[in-house]
Subunit: 118 residues, 2 copies
DNA sequence: TCCTTAGTTCAAAAGTTATTGAACAATTGT
DNA sequence: ACAATTGTTCAATAACTTTTGAACTAAGGA
């Protein structure tokens, strides 16, 4: 099962920039990048907002072509749409992520996490 | 004479992305990049909107740290703030400009221009 | 079957951004 | 001094975006 995603050539630069220009969404993208390869579900981002609000922001990211959302059971697995973004806007995602990593003003996922030990 | 500009370390990533996420402003930046080195005044952008509206968009670009505005007589000379952007967000401006150059959906400066001959 | 978990949808409210026109200010040329 | 040129400011409006809570759907486990 799949949700509506724009075709790669329908991804709009100004829309991608506008969508990334929101601190909550930029924080989501930064976290997705830090876990690249691992598909994350929506509840991983609850530090960044309410369930409803995240649903809204994650839909914006998907509709802009920044993320891919796969429906698996009751979960939505979210990944960065790196392949298409890199093809369409070479270097953009990498430079945004690199800058976001150094951005202390951005809300953090896992900020409220208790130290986990082995 | 100088207008208020943010210090380099005050330039915010999400703010820069949000400001570039508007088609009018992205078109301004693309045109500035195409004429890099040549300071342009506001009236060069009149294809993109009314005088008042451009004043608004150009102020947003300046306040976000994307452009530098120098007051010279009755003109404002506008340049890309490439040095600071490149330092703060390496590769970002270049990838945005490269993508913007290939963006046919973006409004064009000089679209209404009559062929100029030598 | 019933309960829980995961996430969506909807409508309202709040907040923000973009666009407009009229009035203004400052500089430059005559 | 006057007019033209360049651009700003202000207030109003229009148009979006974000956030919220309550109600909902769909899958999975007991």
């Amino acid at each position: 099962m799949t949700l509506p995603h724009p075709a790669a050539d329908q991804i709009s630069l100004s829309n991608v920039l506008a969508v990334l220009g929101d601190p909550t969404r930029l924080a989501i993208v930064r976290y997705l990048a830090s876990k690249e390869g691992v598909p994350l579900n929506c509840s991983q981002f609850l530090d960044l907002g309410s369930k409803t609000n995240l649903s809204y922001h994650l839909a914006k990211l998907r509709e802009a072509g920044v993320t891919r959302t796969e429906v698996v059971g009751t979960s939505r697995l979210i990944t960065l749409r790196r392949d298409d973004l890199d093809t369409r806007f070479p270097g953009l995602l990498d430079s945004v992520i690199a800058a976001a990593v150094n951005d202390t003003a951005l809300p953090a996922v896992g900020a409220s996490e208790i130290e986990v030990r082995a």
